[in-house]
């Protein structure tokens, strides 16, 4: 409430920093540090597009930007996978279904799923990069007939870091998608799959993919982009056929606070999803 002039409640609600309330419906642990969360907004669907993010708040703890992992759906539920790396994410991990969080968003640009219809898709995902990419993967699978080939590559540090393992098993079984995964290191694990960094998976799809009609979607840790893009260039992908989702510190989500700025782009509004040819000249991009 305004302490000085008693301005109307209507005006009060205009604050771009005011969170809405969402209820935690479901959660389960995925790795030692990552857990899956399903939230439900009280009065509306989140209305996000694949690749967007939202700010999560716990009063007294703080706020943090988190990628949305579910496909856009009609009801008020949405999913996130949250890595326990800070005070806010730590507090979210201690929550139980029925508890409330604050939500602002969705924010940012999205994977251009409509423009990609009629084309083939190659997802190249590293670690928790699979989380935002999954929103586009699920969308593509829900609308499978509208896309040509769909290939998914997933790499992570070691077998204990694998995410969405049940879904991965489903993806492996499907004959209308290509799925390959790899781990950087398997020592000490019972792992019979590929070992090597994510780029070692590119040759596995090279023959079956026509770069002229395929769009590559890359999401992963900062170090990954350069090498994957080099690999895609070797496969003759054009820069306007490469789509990246970039991580920055999206503190406010509304293009004000400055933390996510990358050259002249605010990643929270101009991104996080960019066509590579739109940002390749930006020195701070990758």
């Amino acid at each position: 409430m305004c302490e000085n002039c008693g301005c109307s409640e209507q005006t009060q609600k205009k604050s771009i920093y005011l969170p809405e309330v969402a209820t935690l419906k479901r959660k389960f642990q995925m790795t030692s540090v990552d857990s899956f969360f399903e939230f439900e907004l009280k009065n509306r669907p989140l209305g996000h597009q694949p690749g967007q993010f939202a700010e999560i708040s716990i009063p007294g703890i703080g706020e943090a930007p988190i990628s949305i992992s579910s496909s856009p759906s009609q009801d008020n539920k949405f999913q996130m996978v949250i890595r326990n790396v800070g005070t806010l994410t730590n507090a979210v991990h201690t929550m139980e279904p029925g508890e409330l969080v604050g939500i602002r968003g969705p924010y940012g640009t999205s994977f251009p799923m409509n423009n990609l219809k009629g084309k083939s898709l190659l997802f190249v995902t590293g670690g928790i990069g699979l989380v935002p990419a999954r929103s586009a993967i699920l969308y593509a699978l829900e609308h499978r007939k509208e896309y040509k080939d769909v290939a998914i590559l997933f790499g992570c540090k070691d077998p204990s870091q694998r995410l969405f393992t049940d879904e991965i098993e489903e993806w492996k079984k499907r004959d209308d998608i290509i799925f390959h995964e790899s781990v950087d290191r398997a020592t000490g694990y019972d792992w019979k799959g590929n070992v090597g960094v994510i780029t070692t998976l590119l040759p596995k799809v090279e023959k079956s993919i026509n770069p002229k009609e395929t769009y590559a979607i890359i999401v992963g840790p900062p170090v990954m982009y350069k090498y994957v893009i080099m690999g895609l260039h070797d496969m003759e992908f054009a820069d306007d056929h490469i789509i990246v989702s970039l991580e920055r510190r999206m503190k406010c989500g509304v293009g004000k606070c400055g933390h996510c700025q990358m050259d002249n782009k605010y990643v929270c509004q101009d991104g996080p999803v960019f066509y590579y040819d739109e940002i390749k000249h930006l020195k701070e991009a990758i």
């Binding site: 409430m1 000085n4 009063p59 007294g60 900062p222 920055r248 606070c257 400055g258 020195k283």
Partner: protein
């Protein structure tokens, strides 16, 4: 625009009445040791209108160093309530370059997602501007501003001898000045123009501001960034005194009783080491040179590209506050020109 004049003594008495009536907060420039600051006026006797520069710009009244955005009850996610500060405020004697900076700040907080916390304070403000009357050795505002301050000022004062020429620019300004002993202006247009330009800048940007975005783009890898970055203490003084810096951090504060909490916005700065660190600890601007470059790029390229306006108003505060004596944009651009 209505133009008139008022004697300096009459203006002072007029402000004194305003302070006593207390229809709004009245803020002006006051002495602090050998320097000047914007502060609430208790008496017009304290008001300084002949000053070189203030330590901090008047930005602090619209984006305070510390500002409560929301209140809440800890752990109750449905308890968030926005907090606004809508107290009317009149700020007297704001130099033209600081007004130009507010013109830019207004763009930053009103364009795209509108920030009501800032905008409400601005809407409740009245600005009486002033063309500088005293030299400041680091100032270079004439080479980077073009009277943008007049777009936000309600009244502009031009000091000539024992009088101020009073230019009333808005209805709000006209209303505020009601009751002042305004007299018919008898100074010529040339006299007024000369008075506006009576204080010269020693420093100037060596490149026309329109060309700077492209100039910087071409010089992304210039040795200047590392050369000056190596000398930088990452103290953040340059960005904390800047009238056009508006980056912020948001923190959560809980009362000791644990019954009430506040979400607080505080000034932050891209020259501080932690500014671009993400959750897993990766720092997108870990090198001092890259932070130094970012600050200059933001003023000279990124903000102009976003708002169609150069991002620095030439107040010289950054140069003045910098321990390593490297922060001034004039110094940076001169070095680049000398080391092409």
């Amino acid at each position: 625009m209505e133009i008139s004049k008022i004697s300096k003594n009459d203006f002072k008495s007029f402000i004194d009445q305003k302070i006593k009536k207390h229809e709004s907060r009245t803020v002006g420039v006051v002495k602090k040791g050998s320097q000047f600051v914007f502060a609430d006026l208790e008496s017009a006797d304290d008001m300084q209108l002949d000053y070189d520069v203030t330590i901090l710009p008047p930005k602090k009244y619209f984006q305070p160093q510390r500002e409560v955005l929301l209140k809440f009850v800890p752990k109750k996610a449905d308890s968030y309530v926005p907090v606004d500060d809508c107290e009317p405020i009149a700020i007297i004697g704001v130099h033209a370059y600081d007004l130009a900076a507010l013109y830019l700040m207004d763009k930053a907080f009103s364009e795209g997602e509108r920030d009501e916390h800032y905008m409400k304070k601005r809407e409740n403000s009245l600005l009486i501007g002033l063309y500088p009357t005293k030299y400041f050795k680091y100032r270079f505002s004439r080479s980077v501003t073009r009277e943008e301050g007049r777009k936000v000022a309600d009244v502009m004062l031009v000091s000539i001898g024992e009088n101020y020429v009073v230019e009333i620019l808005t209805e709000k300004g006209k209303k505020y000045m009601e009751g002042a002993n305004l007299k018919k202006n008898d100074y010529s247009a040339k006299d007024i123009e000369d008075a506006k330009n009576s204080v010269k800048d020693d420093q100037k940007i060596p490149i026309p501001i329109e060309l700077i975005p492209e100039y910087l783009a071409k010089n992304h890898d210039h040795p200047v960034w590392e050369h000056f970055g190596d000398k930088c203490f990452s103290c953040g003084s340059c960005v904390l005194v800047c009238p056009t810096c508006y980056c912020f951090d948001v923190k959560e504060e809980v009362e000791l009783t644990l019954l009430e909490g506040k979400r607080v916005r505080e000034w932050d700065g891209c020259m501080l080491e932690e500014f671009a660190v993400v959750a897993d600890g990766h720092n997108f601007r870990a090198q001092r040179g890259s932070r130094f470059r970012h600050r200059i790029f933001r003023k000279g390229k990124n903000l102009p590209e976003k708002f169609g306006h150069f991002g620095c108003v030439g107040c010289g505060r950054c140069a003045d506050s910098c321990t390593a004596d490297i922060a001034g944009p004039v110094k940076v651009l001169n070095y680049m020109e000398e080391n092409k």
